[in-house]
Amino acid sequence: MVITAKGKEILEIAEEPEYVMLAKVEDLKMDMLRIVEEEEIKKIRLKTSDEATFEVEPSILKEMKRVQSLINTEAIDTSVAIPLPNITSRNLSRIIDFCWEHQYNTENLEEFKGRFLKSLNHQELKELLLAANYLNIKTLFDFLCNSFTDLIQNESPEFIRDFFNILNDTNSVKSMHAPAFQGSIDDD
């Protein structure tokens, strides 16, 4: 038996005369269909920059604080797909993947994160960080920021300039090297 909020009612009605029950069960079936439909509607559709439409579960949606606030505060029409002009279908599918695993994969989350990261090149990482920031997804944003940190932490200033597209205007600034635990505390 499908357990729904209405399930309890089926049992109660079962004690009534049989012919009534038959009729009621038909009604209930209709009710259930309507409930299923209502749940479908709760799924929000998101439209990416390349015109793909995604149906997104409420549990995933609640990670996307920006979409949440669009729905809650601006009372937009949720029967039409919400346009996300900054996000490609490829990235949205990655984002949904990540949010899904983050919620339901409790055992191998670290393993998933490792695979997730490996599948991305630097450009894609940047795109995804921009998307996570735009949608305001804290878990993904923190994860990507930490990944960027790991990527650049041990690199040279030359690598950093290249990585972030920065022009070198520092002929005068000398390279500084500093160990974690440095200097002597004795010399004043």
């Binding site: 940047k126 920021c145 004795d186």
Partner: protein, 366 residues
Amino acid sequence: MSDLVSPASYSSPSFPVLPDELILKILHRVLVRSLLRFKCVCKSWNAIISDPEFANDHLCTSIADPNMTHHRLVSSNPTEPPQIISFSVQSLFQNPPTGVEPQNLRMSLKYHIVGSCNGLLCLFEIYQGYFKLWNPSTGLKSERLSIGVFPDVIITYHGFGYDHVNHKYKVLAVVENAHETLTKIYSFGSNASTVIQAFPCDPTRMQGKFVSGTLNWIAEQGASDDQWLILSLDMVSETYSEILLPDEDEEKIYTPVLHVLRNCLCVCFFESKSAHWILWLMKDYGVQNSWTKLMMVPHVGREISAGYHLFEPLCIAENGVVLLKTTSANLVLFDPNDGRLNYLRIRGEIGFNMLIYHESLVSPQC
């Protein structure tokens, strides 16, 4: 604030360019030694990394980091020659079979670590009688802050903290000589000290723990031998208040010690009825009903009444695993999820006075 990315870099639209705010959010997570190196990326990065506001944001991110990437355990080593020794807390929690490698710093003079706050260590030079702030991550130091009359004095109770209203680092020191005992507060940057009201009780430990803008000690209350209270000194108003221990139906409390875990005041004591070490955390500082029982650590080794084998918490990971030190200055990891105690293998000798500090860019010059 100047731009992190020069305008020229926006010229290739096919490559996404991260806006300044996002680059800043990444840089807030980068280790201090890397940031010092990144000062020469370009002029604007140099300006930003040198900005006290950036140092502050970086510190806040580091303190909140669940991975404890920027946390270090530091200890002054009583061996000759005197040393200050430090370990990455993250490595300690990983407990590699080869042991955790420390970083040493030799000293020609002898320093005592008074406390740590905002990535700064407050050191006391015991032969010449002055305090000094030191940021071990940047190597920067403050001016000396002399305790005045010397060498005929000793310091008993002491503590180091930050007055966030007047933006001053302060040291409390109870200074004694043959004639008098003075309870003094020294402020860095002003070379002035004030005498405040004497301690209303006699705490069990000399060193106060800094949390939520206060220094804290634990003391026996009145005549009865198992009633304890926490003496709290507000670093802004320089006045005392008292905090009661959690009100639990415990039979008898032995050797309570204070520590700071998750930026909250924490008390750990041995409880005779259960024969466990019990850790309580005060979620909202000063709010009596916010005491939360964190975990119970099984007692191992000798009889507790002999005072041996005390457990003191130093640091706690997000998954609940706690780093403890024992009376014999061993480090132990306790996992409350499976109840296992793991003795850590470390290289080098570690002193009993251990502190946790966060690597930061905060300047000790104030």
